[in-house]
Each structure stands twice: as C-alpha cells, then as structure tokens.
Amino acid sequence: MTTISEIDVRAKHLTDSVGNARADARAQGGRRSEWMPYLPASESPWCPDGVDPAALTWAETVAPGGYTHKVLARGSRLRLDDPTGDACAHVVLFNALEPVERLNVADTQKIPWQAYLGSGHPLLSGEGRILATISADTSGRHDAFCGTTTDGVVETKYGNADPHGPTPSGRSLFVKAAAKHGLTRRDLPPSVSFFQGVRVDGEGTLQWVGSAGPGTHVELIAELPLLVLIANVTHPLDPDPDYRVGPLRVHAWRGVATGPQDGRFTATPELHRAYLNSIDYCDARGIQ
C-alpha cells in the first residue's frame, strides 16, 4: 500500500537529495504484488500441497504478458499452476551445461509416437536425451504444434507488439530471457505450451480446444541440469480478440531424477533408452 506520506514526499519533490531519494526507495521495499517472485522460495504463499516449503528452490507468480527463467539442478521438480484457467506457459528447455543441447519438439512428438503432451511424456533434446519428464498433468490441454507468438502475429491481432508494452509476443520475451543467459535468437528452438490445447483432425486442421478451466497444474522432473525459459502470453490460435492471459504460478523443489526404481524408467523401449542416455551423460559429468 502506498501511504499518504509517501505521496506527499513525491508531490513535494522531496527526492532532491541522495538521502531523501534513498529513504523514498527503501520505503518501497516489502510491498507485495499479485505477480512477483517470493524469496526465499519457502516464503511462497502458494506452496503446493504435500511439498515441504523448506525444499522449495523457486517460487514465483508470473504476470500475464510476463516471462521468467531459471537454472534448475537435475532431479528438480518443476510445477506450473494455472489458477484462473487463462495462463499459457510457453516453455523452452536447454541443457544448462551445454545450451546447444535444447528442446527438440519434433523428437518430443516422434520418439514417443504421440503428438499430445501429457503425464509420462518426455521433453527430448536433439541429442537423444530427456531434458524433463512430465510427471503429473491435471489439464490435458497442451500444444507442441504451434509454438509461441511472433511480433507480426501479435501486432495484427492486438495492434501492439512492443516487448515492453501490454501485449508482448512470446518470441520477444524468449529473446530477452535467452539474452540474460548469453544466448541469442539463434539459440531459440520451437517451444511447447501448457494449459491451452490444440488438436489435429484427420485432414491436419489444427483445432483450438483452449483451457481445461481454472485450477490445473503440470509437473516436470528435470532429468538434466536445466535452463528453463517461460513466457506467459496468449496462444497463437487463441480466438479471443482481447489479450486475455492469467497469472502463472511456478514452483520448483529438490528431488531426484527418474531412475530404475520408477515405473517411468522402462515404460516404453524408447523412454528406457532415453533415460539411459541422460544418466550416461550425467554419470560421465559427475552429476548425481
């Protein structure tokens, strides 16, 4: 809350000295917003049920039209929550140790012989390894066909694609997030998106199925050390003429990667070899 006295300070231009400016700046600390990172992560007001707050390593609510990024240890659990039914989490994953290894959407659809993302689905790199496994999914409305929005699409639809404006494109947010890790637009592969679904009919026509409604979540397991980029923007096929996006909640906590003790490990021959490839890479690297 902004207090009367703070308004007075600014109205009277009492930020004309370093001391006053410092006092004004410091008075802003501790405020809360609908969308913000929570630090330490254990302070999250939205800690998922059954998760020890002390194990949290990332807690954030991403604004509509916002983006975020984080490097996660192998084994981390990453949970995305769509509290309003209007979030759309566009996601790109990289091997944090060698970002030239990154999400490969074609292999992610082709290797499991399945185009639609859901529980048990691997998010594969082009190096024959699993970057992350989808370990839980209460939405079932996701898309690996359409990627995210470009400036051209956004400008045509909403009239303004400024990346600092009210209706940014997913592509421009990914470019910014990638730049913060020394990567450029050259490094950005096609993304997947969660919470707004697309289906393909027999003729190949892409059908928008939208959201499953409020209160769904998706959980991923990091099978390699991961650089995660997330943009929370409209889906390219969203028929709503307004830029309608809801807040996206992001939580991560410590865990162990998928191993022989898990049913997923040998669920299919393709998955089994993909887990073996990821473990082989990590063993050689000295990563648990």
């Binding site: 959407v105 399945q114 050259r186 490839n277």
Partner: protein, 239 residues
C-alpha cells in the same frame, strides 16, 4: 579370446537397388534453368535461391525423404519455423499454397506446385542420437540427416545452434485421433515433385535421407534432383 574380423556394420553409402525405377522428371515450373543438381542417396546438398526463383525437388525413385531446412540468406538467425508455418495456416501438413514461414513469422518460400499430398513437417530429422532411442544403441554408427545438416551447414558458417525442426518432402506422418503419430509408408512415386518459390533470398540445406530403419524412404534410398529456374517473365509481373 580372439576377435573375429568381420566386415564393418557401418553402412557405407547404401544405394538404391539396381532395378529401382528412376524418373528424373523436369522442373515443375517453366523458366531458365540456373541450377540442376543430382543428389546421391544419403548425401547433403545446399544452395542459395534468390527471391523469385523456383526450386523443384524431384523424388526420382519415389518415397525418398528429402529433409530440408531454409534460412534467410542475408540473416541466417531467421530460419524456417515449423510452429509458425503450422499456426499461420492452421494445419499440420504442407501442400500447394503453404507459405513456409520463419521464426519471425515472415514468408521464406511458398509451395507453388506439389504432387504428393500432406507433405510432412512435424516428423523432424533422423540423427544418430534419436536413432538410438528409436531402434537401439546398435544403430549409433549409422548415418543420419542431422549429420548431413551439420556437414552442409558448416560450409555456410552455421552449426548445431542453427538446426531446428525441418521439412520432410515426400514423407508421410499421419496424426491419429488420439494423437498417435508416426512415419508410415509414403504416398510418393518416381518422378513426383514439389516446387518452392523463394520469397526472399534463401539458403536451402537438404539431406537426402539415409534412414534405413523406417519406411521414410521405402527402405531403399534413391537420388533426388534439384532444379532451380528463373521463371519466364509474365506480363504485368515485376519479376
């Protein structure tokens, strides 16, 4: 223990069976031929196609997957994008009229003629790495399209960072009602063609797919013919 000396299991340029019917066809679009290449089975190819010129790809032996990447010649950071192409046309397949779009959403090339329905762009390329997932670790030393892409991209100063999801001319990848998806028998035939008009100056990198473990090339890799023409001037056209 002695190790028995056996012939290498590494395929050394699988070639089409001698009795394969081959139809070399001609350009699908009339014009002055500026380039006419024959691509051997398993080999890569690349060329810059200036705006307005038309590249015809001929499936000489039939059902030979031609894995294809496209870059803006003057700015290769802008390159072919499967999702932007699909979302813009709201369809998962490529056919006559499809505008092949970049990761910035702009037109790179347009399909101006096509003799095989439902051209694939969702199946991606084969690679040593994905082959180990698909078929087992024993195929790790077989040649793949990703290796062709890397080899050919290097000639243009591009590398692994520049490889993205690609087109697969003449390959058939149906998506069933429950999302089941896979490479199945092709619907092409000897001499079938697709023709692409460059909308800007583009670099096209192509792999004549060496894959021998799935039906993408009928288990019989055959040659491709790549013809670039400058179309005949049409009255009223500025090209």
């Amino acid at each position: 223990m002695t190790i028995e000396r056996v012939a290498s299991t590494v395929p050394v340029g699988a070639v089409h069976t001698p009795d394969s019917p081959l139809d070399w066809s001609e350009s699908a679009v009339a014009g002055t031929v500026v380039r006419d290449d024959r691509v051997a089975p398993n080999a890569p190819w690349s060329a810059v196609v200036p705006a307005g010129q038309v590249l015809t790809i001929v499936d000489v032996g039939g059902n030979q997957s031609a894995d294809c990447l496209i870059y803006r010649a003057d700015d290769p950071d802008e390159r072919y994008s499967v999702p932007d192409t699909l979302a813009a046309q709201r369809n998962a397949y490529v056919d006559t009229g499809t505008v092949l779009r970049s990761n910035e959403g702009r037109a790179l090339m347009t399909v101006v003629a096509n003799e095989v329905p439902h051209q694939d762009t969702i199946g991606g390329a084969c690679s040593k790495e994905s082959n180990t997932l698909r078929y087992g670790h024993h195929v790790a030393y077989q040649h793949g399209c990703r290796e062709n892409f890397l080899t050919e991209a290097a000639r243009h100063g591009l590398g692994a960072r520049d490889l993205v999801s690609n087109l697969n001319w003449f390959m058939n990848v149906p998506v069933e009602a429950d999302g089941a998806l896979g490479i199945v028998d092709g619907r092409s035939a000897p001499g079938r063609r697709v023709a692409l008009r460059a909308d800007v100056d583009v670099l096209v990198i192509l792999s004549n797919c060496p894959q021998m473990n799935n039906p993408c090339n009928d288990f019989n890799p055959t040659p491709l013919r790549m013809i670039v023409v400058r179309p005949e001037t049409i009255a009223g056209s500025d090209r």
